[in-house]
Symmetry: C2
Subunit: 162 residues, 2 copies
């Protein structure tokens, strides 16, 4: 963090890192929906402003939550990768989402694939995190992660609407 | 939420509810440290301003995260109670705290008792939530929650410092 933290409580430090109106949404789009380019991240449902997105991406790189490199397949475009630090937030984001679905009646399920992962419980979350590690960190797939997901993981799951 | 939400994504709605620089800290002080009066909550390590605290408490009551009543033991003082909706956030706050301890080296453990609960894993979290329900909702203690915690729950646990 740039400025001195308000306290060294781990929750406060976490809130100072990602507890603003936008940062968790950027991490959601990367962790849940595989977005990695500025042009994909700007296209969020919440209409993030481009200067806010640029600011938060810069901060997330500085904090070791993301890495940034040139994308060889897109000239002049950067590609962002998750780090172990941000991948390890995945279960927390899943649980925030599940809490929201349970407690905020206006919430609507978005994305069948990620819903199946969320509904699959901690083991499904761990497999998904292994896939993120393969994609973003170049980690070798673990035996479990490379197994086919099977039909159960593809069911559309419970839907909620307003 | 007062204004129209930016989207109906459950994470976005959750972020709109508690994803600001202060709300999660108020919930932390109530969930982890048993604070229930304005005068206790204003005394946080992060020096929350009184108008911000008053605003957030009002919002949390309006959102069904807290209830407010006169405290018969303190004339003219309101006492705030958690609701099932806010108590169910407890495991998420615990995991944010554990993530912070793991990933943010400047974090310092605060509170031996809550640390023992956090380190005790999901079963210890569930027992603690049952105690919160007894205190805040007047729920009858479950058999497990009323059992003595034993010496293991009182160990001071790992400490981290800057």
């Amino acid at each position: 963090m740039a400025a001195a933290p308000r306290s060294n409580c781990a929750i406060n430090l976490s809130v100072e890192l990602f507890g603003d109106r936008w940062t968790l949404l950027i991490l959601r789009d990367m962790l849940f929906f595989g977005r990695r380019h500025f042009g994909q991240l700007i296209d969020s449902a919440e209409h993030i402003a481009s200067n806010v997105l640029a600011n938060r991406l810069k901060m997330l790189v500085a904090e070791g939550m993301l890495t940034r490199r040139d994308d060889p397949t897109h000239k002049q475009k950067a590609i962002y990768s998750l780090t172990e630090k941000s991948i390890s937030l995945f279960p927390i984001l899943v649980q925030i989402s599940l809490w929201g679905h349970e407690n905020l009646p206006e919430s609507i399920q978005q994305g069948d694939e990620i819903w199946a992962v969320m509904a699959g419980g901690p083991k499904a979350w761990a497999r998904f995190m292994d896939r993120l590690r393969e994609t973003h960190l170049g980690a070798a797939p673990s035996q479990e992660a490379s197994a086919p997901a099977g039909p159960a993981a593809r069911r559309s799951g419970k839907r909620r609407s307003a």
